[in-house]
Symmetry: D3
Subunit: 62 residues, 6 copies
């Protein structure tokens, strides 16, 4: 029962559905673990909650 | 200072209080680590943010 | 498909089996989600990898 | 590419910016890994979603 | 800087390299975030540290 | 009870002690939460278990 966790910025429903579908398919193909064993958790984070190189993403994207 | 993290769908306040109380009690009893050392983090996720077997939970529950 | 993650010190096989069994049972009872939907991940950490109040657990336990 | 994840109560923008800046600087100084390799993820949790010693933080802070 | 975390059983080097390559490529394609922004963390767990439906994976696989 | 989790490559005991001490001190100073409420979890990962830009860190560092 592998768990794939995605920490990512705010993402559209279409992209979330595609991520769940495609990452599960790829990971199942590579590991030979059946797709129905995979759990995907999508943790959407605001740009004020992601830091890169010591700066908030919201500052970087300004 | 063990940390118990719950990734779970949206959950009522009553159930969250019960989860924190009961999981801490059980884990403390089994590990013999005092209850007051336990931290519980409840990560509530929308059904659009949980994938099972390559499908969003929001599609599965339709 | 809720996921319970335990970050904890090194733990015996017996205690890990009991934690998985009992935490799943309690969480299932409270949330009314069937037991077979629960995944538990046990992340065992050495005392040199846990810090409390600014000190490593290995220093505190000396 | 170290990842620093903070699970913390609701926090002001100023404090989040300071946390990202200062934790990255300190961690880079200690590990000698350049600052721009660090990712910080801030997971803000409501007091109803944090448990300490078997009680919700929202009950403790009442 | 999205972070993909995989909690999975013990996995060969070849499969880990393939997972990192393919999951990054797919996630980049879907989100339009450049591949070099992605971090993948692979958390390998022994079968004694994974529980499904209240049982350790090591018991289930016996 | 904030939790700081570090996902990082293999790190010496001295550096881990310094990380726990300094990150706790900084985070406490910024958030005004007492140091003794902080838990730090250090998740050391082999270079075969970290991916950046679709490549394992072990390949990048060759």
């Amino acid at each position: 029962m592998p768990v794939i966790t995605l920490d990512i910025g705010i993402t559209s429903l279409e992209k979330k559905a595609a991520l769940v579908k495609e990452l599960t398919a790829k990971a199942s193909e590579i590991t030979q673990i059946p797709e129905d064993k995979f759990v995907v958790l999508i943790n959407e984070l605001e740009r004020d909650n992601i830091g890169i190189g010591g700066k908030l993403l919201s500052e970087i994207m300004k």
